[in-house]
Point group: C2
Chain length 238, copies 2
């Protein structure tokens, strides 16, 4: 029985971290929102077995099991997809990386929605300019610098957790892509100082299943409805 991923069909968003893991593992899965549309996800969120378990999309169904929260979905899927370290200490560590990425993703989102997530960006642009300034100047270097140190601390493999690729590496690739799309100048500036991180992202990008996915119509392009949005005024000045 295929895994069923429930997420919004028109954006990468938080669901993309799950899509990347499923794609890399060549897993049998259905991206329900993309197959059946936005309304199918809205309906599923209201099913009694889902509503008491899931706060927001994305969520995963695996037979009778329902799992919400991106990081928890990956914690659940990781060992099943061969994308987690082999031991429990490694599971916890890969998960910590994912949780830190989740914090980064929340902050990236808030650059364009600093004061009201129900309104449009254009309705909070002055606030967004202030929020993005701190994000590009202080937070991108802090987060990416930490990922660089974590790769180094993990040893010679060049990955984040143990000797082999894990979902933590796939997610790290995704934030490098996302930040480079949304904040090309600020991201490039920091990435000059993080060679291990750049190498890790390039290795992921070049893995056959990931390369095939990125070139397929299943990969939704970055756009200005997602988390990583290119609003040039929010990036650092040249």
């Amino acid at each position: 029985m295929p895994y069923e991923l429930y997420y919004w069909p028109d954006i990468q968003g938080r669901g993309e971290f799950v899509r990347l893991a499923l794609e890399q593992a060549d897993a049998d899965y259905v991206d329900v929102g993309r197959r059946d549309g936005f309304e199918a996800v809205v309906r599923a969120l209201k099913e009694p077995a889902v509503a008491g378990k899931v706060f927001a999309a994305p969520f995963l169904k695996d037979g009778p099991t329902v799992v919400g929260q991106t990081a928890a979905i990956l914690f659940y899927l990781g060992p099943k997809l061969g994308l987690a370290p082999p031991d429990e200490a490694g599971w916890l560590w890969a998960h910590q990386v994912q949780l830190t990425i989740a914090d980064l993703v929340n902050e990236a989102h808030d650059t364009h929605h600093p004061v009201d997530m129900m309104l449009y960006y254009k309705d909070q642009k002055p606030e967004a300019l202030r929020r993005a300034a701190g994000f590009t100047k202080a937070r991108i270097p802090k987060f990416l610098g930490w990922l660089e140190r974590a790769i180094e601390a993990n040893g010679a493999s060049g990955w984040l957790a143990g000797e082999a690729l894990t979902y933590a590496d796939l997610s790290t690739f995704q934030v490098v892509e996302g930040l480079s799309y949304a904040f090309p100048r600020a991201a490039a500036k920091t990435l000059k100082t993080t060679p291990r991180l750049v190498a890790l992202a390039a290795r992921v990008r070049d893995m056959p299943n990931i390369r095939a996915y990125l070139q397929s119509p299943r990969r939704i392009p970055f756009n200005e409805d997602g988390i990583f949005r290119r609003y040039p005024e929010l990036d650092e000045a040249d």
Copy 2:
């Protein structure tokens, strides 16, 4: 060997979720920041074995094991402290609740720091007023309403995960306390509609170890340096 919790000594903050679990379990632990001061936490974050593993406080040392991210610390401690469900599905579910609470905590923080976490509240007050309006009107009801449904969906025990108290319940108590401190009018309005959540928080508050902790000097009072701050202008109008 006692657990060592590293967190800022003058606030409840994210560390409080860990303190509550350690206190309820009557665990042997040292709150290093409170014993040795703020600088001891800063120094510890720079230790090589910590810097490659931990993005920010709180973190926990258990002998050679170092764990960062509040939700991951509780995932690690829960079974050891007798504060997790007995089975793996239950572990994952309690963790999902904790991750959703982490989202709520981030949003509560951003009501007073919507545009720059490095500046003071007074330097971003107009933005904070906008952010808090959406938080009190839409987000508090959404998060607390979801917790109410989750308690109901869990069955007759009145707890969030399985038949007994878990760290998910302790953390839920803490956000009810925090929201009631920071947004007394908005919280009270929503809590009128969530009887199961009110009952759960009252049960936690009345447990002997929690009651003793809350009355001890170890419980730092809520204050305007933490996450839940009482700025009356950010609460709902009467």
